[in-house]
Symmetry: C2
Subunit: 247 residues, 2 copies
């Protein structure tokens, strides 16, 4: 059973303002929930699930502190779910607190200059996780990672990739030098690059690309050569292609 | 100005049933509209746009037959638009009729085994256009390309890539032999393949992958090697990565 005040609380987490204030977020569906429960960096606050889900996840029930595991009815799940088709289970999690990163040396990172679409942001986090990128550095106007649409699109990878929001130009000046590979339409062909083990891959906004001063701070410009006529590639697809060639 | 019956007609095109019956579809926004107006295979039925858009596109106005160019107010556009933020112009187009394709030799094609998400379908059409793939062969349960969400995600590429819906197993048996490269988690690493100029790249459903009999008909299995922990990659991202390595 779920109380009225719990419903209100969970619904408030649909808004960025409250997510920022409460430092929590929601996630839904069996796949993502299991991934987040296994994440060392993300802590659970409460888990709401239908009888059907608890029946096959008795071990989860037994591992949780009293009050954290709540059985609810389908119609109750519908009230709190952000999905058009609610999917058995919803969790409230604490936003992880990471140590401040002061260097991006000796690893692969992604830098996002204004990725606006939550689906793209989530897909990029999943791609970073697939290719073992350690950090995602996003400009302050990029989509917020705890937006429910982003969380769902990460498919659980949100628990394994650290996302840092910052002023990108300021950050680049503040950190020790590291090669920056900018996705651009006028760079060297991606197939001409050798594999790398260190560097930041810079991806621009869906329609405006990378802002000029940031592009100028890149040490390399990388182009995915075109054989057809499309004007551009989706930002997440471009990130995936560049990582697959460079890493 | 737009009449009540026109509003009703355009709204009906939001439903697959009417799109199938009328063999028409809608597209919105300056970028896509200009691309579709320039497409040799897609014919315009009517174009509804605000004064602002017609002012900068006088040449379009003059090139259209009487009655095809209609000036409407913002609030009228809001009535017919499927977008949360209507964007100046909306077109009704005839679905193109292509000759039956009997061979996929000497070109690159994509085969989609049940891509369900309209955003993924649109993004894949855009990727195919970028890499010069000629055909997309989609299983009958795949997302319909004239769904407004698909049309928008193609960013205009829908006018340059031919999409064929068919029973995939039946089709493979009926066409002359052509190499089939299936995206799979247990194939040979993508970087070990040489560039190809002929072949079908087979991509599976977002959660179920490629159905077994279809996978067995593939001549090659291709894997995007993983360095991190994500369980899978987004289907459109996988299609982009495979095309970027093989083509």
């Amino acid at each position: 059973m779920i109380t009225k005040s719990e419903v209100k609380y969970i619904q408030s987490l649909g808004h960025k303002k409250f997510r920022d204030e409460l430092k929590q977020f929601t996630a839904e569906g069996p796949k993502i929930i299991i991934e987040l429960l296994n994440s060392p960096s993300i802590l659970l606050k409460a888990l709401y699930a239908t009888e059907e889900w608890w029946n096959v996840n008795k071990d989860v029930y037994e591992s949780l502190a009293p009050g954290m595991a709540i059985e609810i009815k389908e119609y109750e799940l519908e009230k709190i779910s952000a999905l058009s088709t609610p999917n058995q289970v919803m969790g409230i999690f604490h936003q992880p607190i990471y140590d401040k990163v002061t260097s991006f040396n000796n690893c692969i990172s992604l830098m996002l200059d204004g990725i606006q679409d939550p689906g793209n942001m989530g897909t990029i986090i999943r791609i970073a996780d697939w290719f073992g990128a350690e950090y995602i550095i996003a400009s302050e106007e990029s989509a917020e990672i705890y937006n429910p649409k982003v969380v769902q699109a990460t498919m659980g990878s949100i628990g394994r990739v650290q996302v840092i929001y910052d002023d990108l130009l300021r950050l680049i000046k503040a950190i020790p030098a590291v090669p920056i590979y900018a996705a651009s339409l006028e760079g060297k062909d991606i197939t001409e690059y050798k594999k790398i083990t260190e560097g930041i891959i810079l991806i621009g906004n869906e329609s405006k690309g990378i802002q000029v001063p940031l592009l100028q701070s890149a040490t390399h410009q990388v182009t995915i050569s075109k054989r057809g006529k499309a004007e551009s590639l989706n930002a997440a697809v471009a990130a995936g292609i560049i990582l697959s060639h460079l890493v």
